[in-house]
Amino acid sequence: MKTIIDATSLHYRHLNENLRKALAAGATDITVKGVRGQRYICAGFTAERPASLTIEGIPGNDLAAFMNAPLTIRVKGNTQDGVANTMNEGKIVIEGDAGDVSGYSMRGGKLFIGGNAGYRVGIHAKAYRDRAATVVVAGSAQDFFGEYMAGGIMAILGLDRLAGQPIVGSFCATGMHGGTIFIREHIDPRIVGKEAAISELSEGDWRELGVLLDEFATDLARDLSHLNKSEFIKIEPVSGRPYGRLYAY
């Protein structure tokens, strides 16, 4: 059953009330039209049943923050800051660009970005038992990508870049102490934090990344069959507890 919600001039509280009601009534395919900057859409949502949500327009900050629900949210345009902030479960597919601090402290679920990503994407992303934060960026990401990353998988593909646009900004993986970052370029090691090390992908890494890229390609209708293992590097932490001794005296 298709449900359509018109968000024009709706404050985010009312928009979220409408969404909660629709989900409680069993809606599985919801389209929200006319979104323009409403913050906290689906923030803190819990739900038992899977459902898909399509957002038309520009959702405001903290889309799906703290979300803990099997919802798939597709954004037809760009998103602002803090998408999937501390998200525990769910999947966000952004057809355009994502703003700063997207995937901040994410603890599970997937964040697929079809365009470019801003500053501090996936900082302090985590993994625990069967959950792992998963972020894929089709284009490029700016500074502090994966800063203080504690777990999960993130990948940047560097597609469709303008001339001179770096695949990732400075301070990548600074303070990283868990998880894995894949980047489709042999980047200057000086932009990577000293707590992390760059290496080549193993066959196992490539298989794991391949599964993820297949899903990403399907969701964003992109052909990624031309990507190959030797283009990528892997970034992993040097130590699981880089600050273990810092405050111990």
């Binding site: 900057g37 913050r39 327009g57 602002q80 470019n116 500053y119």
Partner: protein
Amino acid sequence: MTYVSEGRIASGCSVGAFIDRSGRAISGDVVVELMASMRDRATDLGAGYAGYGIYPDLKDFYALHIMYDSPTAQVRTEEMLRSRFAIKRDEVMPTRQVDSIHAAPLLRRYFVRPSHLALAESRLDEEDEFVRRTVMQINAGLEGAFVFSSGKNMGVFKGVGYPEEIAEFFRIGEYDAYCWIAHGRFPTNTPGWWGGAHPFSVLNWSIVHNGEISSYGINRRYLEMMGYRCTLMTDTEVMAYLVDLLVRRHGLPAYLACKVLAPPFWDEIDRMDEPDRQVYESLRIVYGSASVNGPFSIVCGYGRGMFGLNDRIKLRPMIAAEKGDMVYIASEESAIRAIEANPQRVWNPRGGEPVIAQLYEDVAV
């Protein structure tokens, strides 16, 4: 003056600005729509607007917008103005009654030119510097009087209230400008009072700011050595004076002035090729006390244009967009889309990398 609102509301500042590079004048209603769409970022503790090109019939006169907290302050200030300026026009600022806006100060504006005699006596051959010094003297020395706008063919309108309410109060929709800069305030460290609302302005400079300046003490002492007085109880004030010092008085291009405010890191400078390395090293050495530390996203208007700038690690939001002759800068993309649904280009500027947009060279305003 103690026009302070009580209480705290969890929020974040909003900045919004645009310019039509062809010089076409755009109604203030458009900038109000831009700001209204970010209402959740603002509070009732301060908002303001700067419009460029709003006084075309009086464009050769400095437009002094002054707030007074008593008739005495007004009498004393006007005595000083008469001794220094030829006053072309002197009027009450047009305002409208708005229920939510109270305790507004007395608001007047004066269109003036420095008198030949006063200019000669001051031994300054430059009118801008004469006006700047007079503004500083009034703001620091005349109790209860604040000049909050002193440029030509531009004006600042600001006070305590939400952006839409302040706009209604000052009848912003009745002005047309080729460049608008606006702010919704969430005061963090300093009181929300009429003079403390953004934009901060001196001469043609106006600045709106989202963030905090942790180098305020150093910047303020440096500016005091250069003859500036910081009196508005708000950190952003130093930015307006810094750009005045760097660009107007020291002649730096706007781009390099931005690189003084948000300098590259030393290790980035080490990696640069000559002559860039030498230029940036010199800037950091000469202007160390003018670099601004702390999170910021600012937009600065300067007569023929505007620039947006983030701190170098981008701790505050800023998005830019372009369509035809228009360039937009705002805290949120959704705000830009509120007034331009289909921009040709939308981008996230890098921290420390200014977005500069100005009138085309052949445009006269």
